[in-house]
Amino acid sequence: MSLKVKNLKVYYQTLRGDVKALDGATFTIEDGEIMGLAGESGCGKSTLSNSLILLKPPMRFVEGRVELDNEELPIWDMEKMNHFRFKKISTIPQYAMNAMNPIRKIGKMVSEILKSKKVDYKSTLPELKRRLDLVELSHDVLNMYPIELSGGMKQRMVMVLSTLMNPSLLMADEITSALDVSTQKAVAKMLVEFRNRELVKKLMVITHDISILYQIADSIMIMYAGKLAEKAPTSVIINSPRHPYTKLLISSLPDIGVKYSQRKLTGIPGKPPLLLDPPTGCRFRERCPVAFQKCLNEEPPFMEIKKGHFIACWKEFEKNA
């Protein structure tokens, strides 16, 4: 069982035309896999995750096919997706901590959400309490108002809620970025714990912080300007990436032990192309140190060069050939 996304294209409608925010994504997440999704702001990572669960205007479904556990997801149809949301596919939104209604007690809020999904609160309660134990939240939180919870506690509460129905796919969009390092670690580890206990089958963790992914993800997918650049097992992405963008990105990250006076890191010069009218060929070519003629004219496909290692780069294809 797996999530299979095939050539998914989702554009943003604006006055000046379509912004090609997600322009053809093909990838698979297997059961038991935690896939990290990383890239710069505007690379389409949030578009990808949002489109899988709530594709609403100004987002526009263009083409593509999404299969979850051998069943096609009608992501273009808001109504039909209701059947899958929360139960089969669930999300922990970016600002989950502020998404709670401040004048509702947590328990009341949970029961309302369950009711809207036609799930009985009473019979779910024992499981809910077990889950609270799992994330080390006291059962008393159900009688508390959101304001009484700290940021980390809210984040854990939302995690419990979004996984209550044992969804097949859980997406976590930048859920650790607003947290302190110590809380961040706890929340990230909890994601792994949820997977280990098979409360969720597969996870897509979206973040700009690659070092978090290194800690918890099984595989990492890198996006650039609406396209997939590279996907590989975590250790491969960190230690021996193949796509020039991934290489530059990884080498620009400061780590404890790296000092300006001893080893100066460099960023990637230039900036991503505008997606309103993206250039032909490879979208990274303008910033790429190894770009050549072919990158200008032809768009590199996202191909598997080794088992589980996908990239989209002509130079690397040549090397591999």
């Binding site: 409608q13 604006t14 006055l15 205007p57 100004p58």
Partner: protein
Amino acid sequence: MTKPKKRINEILYFALKNKRLRVGLIVVLFFLILAFVGPLLTHYQWDAYVGPAYHPPSYEYWFGTTTFGQDVFTQFILGLKASFLVGIIGGGIGTLIGVLVGFTAGYHGGMIDEFLNMLTNIVIVIPTLAILLIISVYLKVRGVLIESIFIGFTAWPWAARAIRAQTFSLRSRDFVDLARISGIKPLKIMFTEIAPNMMSYLLMTFILQFGGAILIAATLDFIGLGPTNAISLGLMMNLAVLWGALPLGMWWWFVPPGAAIAAIVGALYLTNVGLDEVFNPKLRKL
């Protein structure tokens, strides 16, 4: 690359596309033009007894005549003009005081804010009518101008509250801090950094105050606390009721002023909602 002009164009695009805004503006403009072109179409004085009494609308007297034979159309036109005057002066004063109080309270915070907030709340709870009754005892002759000023001085608290909240949220933005560490004085920061960000908001506040002032004036006039030396739409209705237009079935005397007030105030609120949709990208529909 996008040019700065685009932003203005974008606002114009959404403004022209917005139905509420279009309808609202057309109605307001219609009455505004009528108020200024109208006097050319009539050659009567509003208080002169110019024709037969109890006369329904006719070619000679477009809106008919009053119980005393005054021309209703002339009264209507001048009343319309008075209403717009009240709206502009009353709404203008209300907005101005509201802006000053709101800016100062929101920017300075602390004790100044507490004090201005107290003042605002006091003015809100003062019964306007009671004060006006007292004033009318002292002022034997009241004009539209006095009335507008009075309305302006009592209607500002709502504007002040809204603007205070808006200023409060803007002043915590980093660019205000940057202006402060650039050595710019607080008053200058208020007008060169904060105010430009609230232009759309100020415009909408003025429109609401404008409509509010017209409505309050009509209410005051209707219960006989309006101008003593001029005509207004509210006063027309007051006189109509006073002199038995209702039992006599003289609908032409009270329907035009009533309908005009309803239309103008309604259109102003419609304009406001429309502008809100134009300025607030979240409310825009593609």
